[in-house]
């Protein structure tokens, strides 16, 4: 079945969620992934939002923003902001999603600026809840479009800490949680080396080779010779995604 890259991304994101987990979501593709997981292999997972909403019901509408009515649709309770992050610190969040303008080889994420602080080329949004999730939730999944610029050797500004400069640097700070666990892009699914904490490929999407990955990355991603191909969604899953999860194609239809 024909699938577009956004659908594949959504599918890969959904596979990072296990059943019975609490997932902290924003909006955009991670939300689609979480909803798809809930509609397929992880029906008992619970979504929580930065708006503080716990376990809203889902009726086919995509929230525009993390405080949109659909993020708290029939939610039994809505926490205030410090308690919402407190929930992550308290061990009631298994998984958080992070997007970023830049992701580096140690999984550090930049959403603050491109350039230097004094002379920024592009001023981005700032941390929002990204830093809090990266610091507090048990494991985080990074998602981004993979290009040389967006995957540099070192991010211009560490907004959300991954493994900092690798090795045991993150451990030394005693941040909560394991740190970045997966990176999902249009090319593949990556994890991090246990020792060095460098980004390493877990699987590449069909048709993607090491050369393509190298061309789209500002550093070397460790890719073993026997790298597997990313599992693709079957027809049933795609039908659920298109008809039930994102029926209007808000986040999974390719822009024209």
């Amino acid at each position: 079945m024909q699938t577009n890259p956004l659908e594949i991304l959504a599918y890969c994101l959904s596979r990072t969620i296990n059943d019975n987990e609490i997932v902290y979501v924003g909006t955009g593709l991670p939300l689609v992934g979480a909803l798809l997981a809930k509609a397929t292999h992880a029906p008992n997972s619970t979504l929580v939002y930065e708006s503080g909403a716990q376990d809203p019901l889902f009726e086919g509408k995509m929230p525009w923003s993390v405080a949109c009515p659909w993020t708290y649709y029939k939610a039994p309770i809505i926490l205030d902001m410090p308690n919402s992050f407190g929930q992550c610190a308290a061990g009631y969040v298994d998984l958080g999603f992070l997007g970023g303008a830049q992701i580096d080889k140690y999984g550090n994420v930049n959403t603050t600026l491109i350039g230097t602080y004094e002379e920024p080329k592009v001023r981005l949004t700032g941390s929002g809840g990204g830093n809090d999730l990266a610091s507090l939730s048990d494991r985080s999944v990074l998602v981004g479009l993979q290009t040389k610029e967006k995957f540099p050797e070192k991010v211009d500004f560490i907004t959300s800490p991954g493994f900092l400069n690798g090795g045991d640097e993150r451990e030394k700070l005693d941040l909560f949680g394991q740190g970045p666990w997966r990176v999902i892009t249009q090319l593949g699914v990556y994890g991090f080396d246990d020792e060095t904490k460098r980004m390493k490929a877990i699987s590449l999407h069909p048709g993607i080779t090491k050369d393509i990955v190298d061309m789209c990355t500002g550093f070397e991603i460790i890719i073993s010779d026997d790298i597997t191909e990313t599992e693709m969604p079957d027809e049933t899953t795609i039908n659920i995604l298109r008809n039930k999860v994102d029926p209007f194609g808000v986040f999974t239809k390719m822009p024209l």
């Binding site: 923003s65 993390v66 649709y73 205030d80 920024p120 949004t125 700032g126 800490p161 030394k172």
Partner: protein, 409 residues
């Protein structure tokens, strides 16, 4: 900048009150003494605090104040208060908040001089181009970088009356290098230096907040439902608090309430009755946001000063208040009914069926002026706008001649 922001500088002999207020805004953010002092000066009595938004902005917003955004982005925010500040040409304000949802509007409106940023953006539509340009062109000076959680904890600390809180957020990030307020420290109760680090976040005290709520009484007792985000904390953390409400209700209704979060009257300086007062944003239970309007703003108006000035002329300077704004948005009552229905369905309070929430992106053809589908031409819209301006001018003169301060309709 003073090296230690925690030390309140003395006023210099030749310095005006206004200059001193602006210069010390970065110190006031964490100055507990002046924060308490302001609170002690507030009336302890239950007095009628009703006034118009115009009067509240006139009386309570001073050049150089630190203002925090409220609500979450366009949900229960304070966009109309920003509009009024732009109309009254307030200057050199410091903008903060977790998040800053529609930062481009006050920034582009020229009222902001400084920022304590945690998030200023357009969510699923990406970066806030006005914010980006203003920082790049150094029209706005960023004073500090925060995560949402850190700034939220700062407000929480103020609410709880503690000097600071220790957290794991912001550790290892570059934000701490660009934030003179937070401090990385080792865990005070463990005898292992350089291990188990924490980030100390001081109580944060903005000067003023405008909190839009669903219901309030004339004394300022206020009720919020839906996401409260930081607003309950901010009502204590802030020196001055203006409540704007959808409905001004009797004290009984508040006293009999068994649900919802509330702000007690003593924190509140002014109450403004503003039905439909958070347009073009949304209010849980009342109305849905105007996504197309917002998108026109972030995608088109924020792109250049030229675009934004037209946008301001149309939406801010040629509107006396939010009633005029609603008229322009979609013809008054039409707009109200539609938005109300949209939100009731979106929140599951009504099951009238499928409503098209229209995810189509706003394109540039709709710019520069808002055009209703039933309007024939661009010229017609220009004429209408000119008429509106004339009408407003006449009305203003009339109001002045009657010595009418303008008030609640």
């Amino acid at each position: 900048m003073e090296k230690n922001v925690f030390k309140m500088p003395d006023k210099q002999a030749n310095e005006t009150e206004r200059d001193y207020h602006i210069r010390t805004s970065r110190n006031r953010l964490v100055d507990t003494n002046s924060w308490r002092e302001v609170h002690f000066k507030k009336s302890r009595n239950r007095i009628n605090k009703c006034m118009s938004l115009k009067e509240a902005v006139q009386e309570f917003v001073i050049d150089g104040d630190i203002i925090s955004d409220t609500g979450f982005s366009w949900v229960r925010g304070c966009t109309q208060a920003f509009f009024e500040m732009i109309r009254q040409e307030k200057r050199e304000l410091t903008l903060m908040g977790a998040p800053i949802g529609v930062g481009g509007i006050p920034i582009g409106g020229g009222i902001i001089g400084y920022m304590h940023n945690s998030y200023t953006g357009a969510e699923m539509r990406g970066i806030d181009k006005m914010f980006h340009r203003s920082i790049k062109e150094k029209k706005v000076e960023p004073l500090s970088e925060w995560s949402h959680g850190a700034q939220a904890l700062g407000f929480k600390a103020a609410q709880m009356g503690v000097p600071y809180l220790a957290s794991k957020v912001m550790l290892g990030s570059d934000m701490v290098k660009h934030n003179p307020y937070v401090k990385i420290s080792s865990h005070a109760f463990k005898d292992e230096p350089e291990k188990d680090m924490v980030c100390l976040i001081p109580a944060l005290y903005p000067d003023i907040v405008f909190i839009h709520v669903q219901k309030a009484d004339k004394y300022g007792n206020a009720m919020i439902w839906g996401p409260v985000v930081n607003d309950i904390a901010l009502s204590v953390a802030s020196r001055k608090v203006v409540i704007t409400c959808e409905e001004l209700v009797s004290e009984d209704e508040i006293r009999n309430n068994t649900s919802g979060n509330s702000i007690p009257f003593m924190y509140v300086d002014a109450v403004v009755e503003m039905p439909f007062g958070n347009v073009p944003g949304s209010v849980p239970g009342y109305y849905y946001w105007h996504r197309q309007w917002w998108e026109q703003g972030v995608r088109i108006a924020f792109q250049s000063d030229e675009n934004f000035n037209k946008f301001l002329d149309y939406w801010v300077f040629s509107c006396r208040d939010h009633y005029d704004f609603v008229d322009k948005l979609g013809g008054g009552i039409r707009e109200i009914v539609k938005r109300n229905k949209l939100t009731k369905v979106a929140e599951g309070l009504n099951d009238i069926g499928v409503i098209d929430y229209d995810y189509k992106e706003v394109n540039s053809e709709q710019y520069p002026y808002w055009r209703y589908p039933w309007e024939e031409s661009y010229e017609q819209e220009i004429n209408r706008q000119t008429e509106t301006l004339l009408r407003l001018k006449n009305l203003e003169e009339f109001e002045q001649s009657q010595n009418n301060k303008g008030g609640i309709i």
